[in-house]
Symmetry: C2
Subunit: 347 residues, 2 copies
Amino acid sequence: MSDSPIVPVILCGGSGTRLWPRSRAAKPKPFLPLVGDSTLFEATVARCTPEAGFAPPVVVTGAAHVTHIEAQLADPAGSQVIVEPSARNTAAAIALAALRLPADAVMLVCPSDHHIADPAAFRGAALAAAQLARQGWLVSIAIAATAPETGFGYLQRGEALGDLGFRTARFVEKPDLARAQQFIAAGTYAWNGGIFAFPVGGFLRELEEHAPAILTAARRAVEAGRSDGHLFFPASGNFAAAPSISVDYAVMEPTAHKAMVLADMGWSDIGSWDALHSALPRDAAGNSCKGRAELVDCRNVLVDSDGPRVSAIGLEDVVIVVDGDEVLVTTHAGAQLVGKLPGAANQ
Amino acid sequence: MSDSPIVPVILCGGSGTRLWPRSRAAKPKPFLPLVGDSTLFEATVARCTPEAGFAPPVVVTGAAHVTHIEAQLADPAGSQVIVEPSARNTAAAIALAALRLPADAVMLVCPSDHHIADPAAFRGAALAAAQLARQGWLVSIAIAATAPETGFGYLQRGEALGDLGFRTARFVEKPDLARAQQFIAAGTYAWNGGIFAFPVGGFLRELEEHAPAILTAARRAVEAGRSDGHLFFPASGNFAAAPSISVDYAVMEPTAHKAMVLADMGWSDIGSWDALHSALPRDAAGNSCKGRAELVDCRNVLVDSDGPRVSAIGLEDVVIVVDGDEVLVTTHAGAQLVGKLPGAANQ
């Protein structure tokens, strides 16, 4: 089955409140050109081109994002967009896609709001993961861990599976700093970035075994759904019955067939303004500016303005964002709290 | 001559670039409500009311500011506005006013862009200074020095002149920190705030003795000037010949008849954003907000926005100003550099 297609399944669900005020409910994070000229969604699609051996993508998203997706897909008519009637987390979203694909296909599940600096490394890892998936493994593309981050889950690698990857010994939820430091010191842990290669049939079997309610709800929603060109609308009443559980908890933790492929590809989840700052080109003083800015005696300052000029003096490790009627000024450390600001929470 | 009038002479010259972007060439510092609801100019006029024994004011200003002055004077028709043909510093500006007043009047020279928290204390000091001026003294209303500031000139007090004030032993230009600390420790120095009470005739005699070119130029400009209602326009060609020297250097340093009256009146020159912050009401964390603001984990932060909401996280000793198409974010220490920013310098 080495010729079975690799189908990118692109999940467009999150709202990205931690990148408020640039990311807003009406135009959230995946659809913004946060790094370079492409949006994160466009770059996600572009990493999986037909030339590189990938089938046209399946996008799973909510109705609010369809307009952005239509505008940003390279080939809308050649793609498939599954419009979730409600947000039921990643296990149900991936189930919808699996039920619309041939059982022998390989799904390459990709979040749409991450940045990958080295797309060639990503493709190499994706192809290795697809090979393992064809052998029946549910494969995580695991991110080489470069620091004891407490904001990510970790994957512990087990025995080698040829030279393609490893069994996944266990999933670890976001650890505290001491444990994260142990993981880095041990050298056998990688970050869980939410990128997976699944055999469609194998994934559905594991879902049936470990989270049957999700499979049942998704199946009924697909069976009662309707197509409109390249858009597919699962039936809302049926889908709402799906438990809202991540694919990590629903399938990857319990399955006995989990594997991982290590990827060192300049990955970032762009999970906060300081994470975005780290992913951007910076000058010798660590500053990065988008829009009109004048910086005096500043170090590690990120300015992102959609219009007004920003003049900054004497700042260090600070992010300044101007977006229409909102101005955000935060320390790098404070950036974790952006999603809890009144402006971000009450959109 | 104890019944001679005390005429407030209000100098409206500066551009206030260190309070950019709120202070702009088109609407500079004196005409902004920086502290409370009144502008600094309005508050300057209001400190010297007829009820408190002052004559109607004489305002000396440039053509660019006349519209603001007309709008903000309590009684424009009852006041006199002298429109300088060009900016020639304070000695020439005061000379213009002196030449338009009776020789037996007392001029109370006031900058228009300072804040005085205790107007009653100011009036008490002004009346004492006027009494000394009627005795022939050129009197500084000296500011009780509360910290070793290096941004102000200092006045050293000499022998007492009854219980009204003191001779001024000497003028000291802006000192370095070590000298400023010596001055504070000595206890005999006060700040030079640029507020003076002068006998009109005595001032003109001292000007003739120590800076005759200024007097000649001002006299010719007034003699060839024209009135238009309460506006007076000195002749431009003549006035341009006046050397541009401050009244401190031109008259107060060289004169043998200098005196000072000490005033503890909550004075601030609002000479920078951090100085403004110190003059404003602050909450328990030292924060002060004007306009819409959300502060999280902030200490000693000043927010001043003319429209957009400002959300700030984790900042300390920072000033954030939003004014139309300009956003300023500076540390308190950096606030001294605001006037050198491209936006402030190239208006």
